[in-house]
């Protein structure tokens, strides 16, 4: 029986951030022309699915939206996230062997707290899909490989404290590209140390360099982690013609990557060379996922010899890989050395910038360090908006794995803040063990439940 690859194609031809923004109606137009002209949807190996609308509850499993979900998402967002959910269902029902949600708007820069749009993203399509799969199909260990040129800082934030989700991102390094993060020493919180792996690459890294990273670091770590599901956060802006970044990856490189990585589900992220890259990269990825020959997919000016790595780059890559291998191998011991892992709380403070909406966010995060489970987190977030207004929220995140003491404690923390909400506009409880999501409005003195 041939491989079956599920495909949701949702180009959102009637949605844009602004008419000339890279994230505009035209983005997947030439991709559509190429895919349709190829007759991709007629292939016996490809099953096309229609996206559905994700529900607010699907979103609340991942995000704390300020002031509420409705204010942060449009119908296009619900359909993009819903497209990923349709494929997740099809995969679990074994209708397909793998699936690619070719959807926009993208999501991998969306963090848990959402005050607005950053990096063209409002809500996180992959995280919504993963939390849905964990809830409805009981999946436990998930690996996300981010192949977008930008650091997937949203994914990193969502899974920073989750030891069961391995997040690996390779990207153009944060010194030369948005969002300015994703350095090799960002390795996860104290309860999930080492399950975040960042591989910052130098500008102009080519097929050869990226595949070296894949073969010698990403694939061995995946093999070691043994996930139930592999997700490709499938950005396409490592391409050599992308206008917003400086890498030298090709359509062939992307196709080969997917052939090796064998993602169960891939979800489109960035990629803004809408004419010179996307039609070819997407065709290549689909053919590779469907187990078909992609050797004839090539950009008009593609010459393989132009995508060899310089010796300096290779030295840098090898050195980086050696370091991350050590970290991965010794992650338990390193975690102990670096930070107390049980008893009391771990705290961190940071600021988050929302480039699209020009919002600054100040965050204080407190993690319960529990000997039995990954604990729970309390986030206090203050959003400073360009209108010179601000909102402060407090969010309690209770993960699937939380032990019964942590569950009770987290719920009572939420209660305490509701009883004494001084300085707060909203209080949230993301209660995954109960799959219940609460939001308390201080001014309205009302609680909403999803």
């Amino acid at each position: 029986m041939p491989n079956k690859t599920g495909l949701v194609f949702f180009p959102a031809f009637d949605w844009a951030i602004t008419p000339t923004h890279p994230e505009r109606e035209e983005r997947l137009l030439y991709t559509r022309d190429q895919l349709f002209e190829e007759g991709i949807m007629d292939l016996p190996e490809v099953v096309e699915y229609k996206p559905r609308l994700a529900t607010y509850k699907d979103i609340a499993r991942v995000h704390f939206c300020v002031p509420d979900i409705k204010a942060q998402v449009t119908e296009a967002h619900l359909i993009a996230a819903g497209g990923a959910l349709v494929l997740a269902d099809a995969l679990m029902k074994k209708e397909i062997d793998n699936g690619f949600a070719l959807v926009r708007p993208p999501g991998h820069h969306s963090m848990r707290v959402v005050h607005g749009n950053r990096g063209f993203c409002n809500i996180h399509n992959e995280a919504i899909m993963i939390e849905y799969l964990r809830k409805h199909y009981g999946l436990k260990k998930i690996a996300i490989v981010d192949t977008d040129v930008h650091h997937g800082d949203g994914t990193q934030d969502v899974y920073w404290h989750d030891p069961d989700v391995l997040f690996i991102s390779f990207h153009q390094d944060g010194r030369t590209l948005y969002p300015g993060s994703g350095f090799a020493d960002e390795l996860g919180g104290p309860t999930a140390f080492g399950t975040t792996i960042n591989i910052p690459l130098l500008p102009h890294t080519t097929d050869e360099g990226i595949h070296y990273v894949l073969d010698n670091l990403v694939l061995p770590i995946l093999e070691d982690f043994q996930p139930d599901l592999i997700v490709n956060s499938a950005g396409q802006d490592n391409h050599y013609t992308d206008p917003l970044a400086n890498m030298r990856f090709t359509a062939h490189g992307y196709a080969l990557l997917n052939e090796k990585l064998k993602p169960d589900l891939a979800v489109l992220e960035g990629g803004y060379a809408i004419e010179t890259a996307l039609p070819y990269v997407n065709t290549g990825i689909i053919l590779a996922m469907a187990g078909l020959d992609y050797s004839c997919v090539r950009e008009p000016d593609y010459r393989p010899e132009n995508f060899k790595e310089s010796p300096e780059h290779m030295d840098y890559i090898k050195d980086l890989i050696a370091y991350l291998h050590e970290v991965w191998k010794n992650r338990e011991a390193l975690a102990e050395q670096r930070q107390r892992r049980t008893g009391g709380y771990y705290e961190r403070r940071r600021t988050v910038y929302y480039d699209t909406d020009n919002i600054r966010e100040q965050q204080e995060e407190k993690v319960k360090l529990c000997a039995k489970c990954p604990g729970y987190q309390v986030i206090r977030s203050r959003g400073l908006y360009p209108t010179r207004t601000e909102r402060t929220v407090l969010a309690v995140a209770l993960p699937w794995q939380a032990c019964s003491e942590c569950q009770e404690e987290a719920r009572s923390v939420y209660q305490e803040y509701i009883n004494n909400p001084r300085g707060l506009d909203f209080v949230y409880l993301q209660d995954k063990p109960r799959d219940t999501y609460l939001q308390y409005s201080v001014s309205g003195r009302s609680e909403m439940q999803l």
């Binding site: 022309d33 949807m41 119908e75 206008p243 004839c296 997919v297 008009p300």
Partner: protein, 564 residues
């Protein structure tokens, strides 16, 4: 007076219509000798009934193309592909006599990204000549956006081998889908000559009968075309039979409603959908002989369940098998069938009642049921199965991919108001089916010749899908292969629409479509082309049409009869 003729696989049906009324109807078994004989046997009695009064037009629906393809008596064709980057062209399995692949590539905007190689073209022609093939189809990827490669190869072939019949992909269809374009182009050329022969024969016999009425042919999308115009794309006349039936139902049921067209035959039950008065089309084109094509056709579904399906009991439960072994038991056949059950349930008067009882009794023995109870069970199961298939058909329509937010939000759950039965066994189970589905069961008068009525009344339709690229200053029409520089600058969507409507009227006139026929905008989309944060041009995709439908005067005249 109007004449509609449908020469089907089993029956040939014909009607004569005058002022909204069926004057004469004919149903005869199709003659094995040929289409022409069947056509004449049905036509002659109608001409007699017309008694010399003026016949305005004759519309013909035939299985000619279907038969040619099914029996593989199409003409040999060499297929020359210019695929460019993408799928490995070695993986294509087109049913051409010989296939050849040439270098060269055009991209989605119609820009040349790789030139042709003259030595390859030369070698290709030599190979074709060596094989002795006389017909060549040349199809390039994205040739609908730039046909220069197809043209260059064709003109080289024509000048070096003038005896060849050559067709180019962009002339046949411009819809995006290169493999389907290749198949459709191939079939067009492979059937063209035989179709033309048939055409000449029909003209000849009409001439002998002194008929001067214009002759039209019905297409798979339910539109008619002057016979002469159909010569260029004969393959569009495939599956006109189901289209005729659906149009017939459209003519015989109240306007604007949502109906299921149900045709229960001996071996199969055929289904089609009419959504708010519009027959549903197969979304990307018809599947012919297991190949996907770009032939616009109604979405039909054939279920292996008919009046002659075999009944049996397996593991203490009744089963309706998908095959047929002959007529019903009550008609002297070997096995119990739904037709026998209908007889016992007193829903029909076909066949020997005693034999029907006998076989139901035998069937029911293992189930501890009386013959009557057995028959009821058979019918219940049959109706359930058909209702399920209808439901699935609506479901797959709902699940058809959509690429815009509004389309996804707008597509609501729709279920039929009517289930309309045509064909032999339909009237018997209709009431039960209506009950099962919670909708009205209709068996309209003349239902047995609904197909011929549909043919007689079908309007000439015409669809033109435009693609404007204002940056390249070009426009393209999918249906007729037009690729031209824009004669006037297109500055707005309204201007583009006007341009399309004007063009549609001009093309419509050539087909004899009256200028007061209603025009329809199918879709209109605008994309800003932005390069470096500046808008450098616009892409417009606009589709306009004279829609498929039933002649207005019929509807007017039948208003009273259709009143609910």
């Amino acid at each position: 007076m109007l004449i509609g003729l449908d020469v089907g696989g089993t029956y040939t049906d014909a009607v004569l219509i005058d002022h909204g009324e069926v004057i004469e109807k004919i149903k005869i078994p199709t003659k094995p000798e040929g289409l022409l004989e069947s056509l004449l046997s049905a036509l002659d009695p109608l001409l007699q009934a017309a008694g010399g009064r003026e016949i305005q037009r004759i519309v013909l629906s035939t299985t000619l193309i279907t038969n040619l393809i099914a029996t593989n008596t199409v003409d040999p064709v060499a297929l020359v592909l210019i695929p460019g980057p993408g799928l490995n062209p070695g993986s294509y399995k087109f049913k051409a006599t010989q296939s050849y692949i040439l270098s060269g590539a055009i991209d989605y905007r119609g820009r040349e990204i790789e030139p042709l190689k003259e030595n390859e073209i030369k070698a290709c022609l030599e190979a074709i000549k060596k094989e002795g093939i006389k017909r060549v189809a040349i199809v390039g990827k994205f040739s609908q956006r730039n046909n220069s490669h197809e043209q260059a190869v064709a003109s080289y072939f024509a000048s070096h081998a003038p005896e060849l019949q050559i067709i180019m992909g962009h002339q046949v269809t411009g819809r995006l889908n290169f493999p389907r374009r290749a198949v459709t182009t191939l079939l067009t050329l492979a059937t063209r000559e035989k179709f033309e022969n048939f055409y000449k024969q029909v003209l000849q016999v009409l001439k002998e009968r002194g008929i001067t009425a214009p002759l039209y042919i019905l297409k798979a999308d339910g539109g008619t075309l002057p016979f002469t115009q159909s010569l260029t794309k004969p393959v569009e006349t495939i599956f006109s039979g189901p289209a005729a039936s659906t149009l017939g139902v459209l003519a015989l049921t109240p306007k604007g409603q949502t109906s299921v067209v149900l045709d229960i035959g001996g071996t199969t039950t055929d289904l089609a959908l009419i959504l708010s008065g519009k027959p549903l089309l197969a979304s990307r084109g018809a599947k012919i002989n297991n190949d996907y094509t770009q032939v616009r056709a109604f979405a039909t579904k054939s279920v292996a369940l008919g009046g002659d399906s075999i009944l049996c009991v397996k593991n203490n439960s009744l089963e309706i098998l998908p095959q047929r072994e002959g007529p019903a038991y009550c008609l002297g056949g070997p096995q119990p069938t739904p037709t026998d059950a209908m007889r016992v349930a007193a829903l029909t008067e076909i066949g020997d009642e005693r034999r029907a009882y006998e076989c139901m009794k035998r069937l029911g023995a293992d189930l501890n049921l009386s013959p009557k109870e057995t028959a009821d069970l058979v019918l219940k199961q049959m109706v359930k199965k058909i209702a399920q298939e209808i439901d699935d058909m609506f479901l797959s329509w709902e699940q058809e991919p959509a690429y815009r937010i509004w389309e996804i939000l707008q597509k609501q759950k729709i279920r039929p108001q009517n289930v309309v039965g045509i064909g032999g066994a339909a009237p018997a189970v209709l009431p039960l089916l209506g009950e099962e589905m919670g909708c009205r069961a209709l068996a309209p008068p003349h239902a047995e010749v609904a197909n011929a009525i549909g043919a007689a009344l079908a309007k000439v339709n015409l669809r033109l899908s435009f693609h404007f690229d204002t940056e390249r200053n070009f426009y393209f029409i999918e249906e007729n292969g037009v690729q031209e520089k824009l004669p006037i600058p297109i500055l707005s969507e309204d201007q583009a629409k006007d341009f399309c409507f004007t063009r549609l009227r001009q093309e419509g006139q050539k087909l004899g479509i009256s200028s007061d026929e209603e025009l329809e905008l199918v879709y209109s989309e605008v994309f800003n082309m932005v390069r470096g944060w500046r808008t450098t041009g616009k892409l417009y995709d606009i589709c306009v049409q004279f829609p498929t439908g039933i002649m207005e005067n019929w509807l007017e005249e039948r208003k009273d009869q259709c009143a609910e």
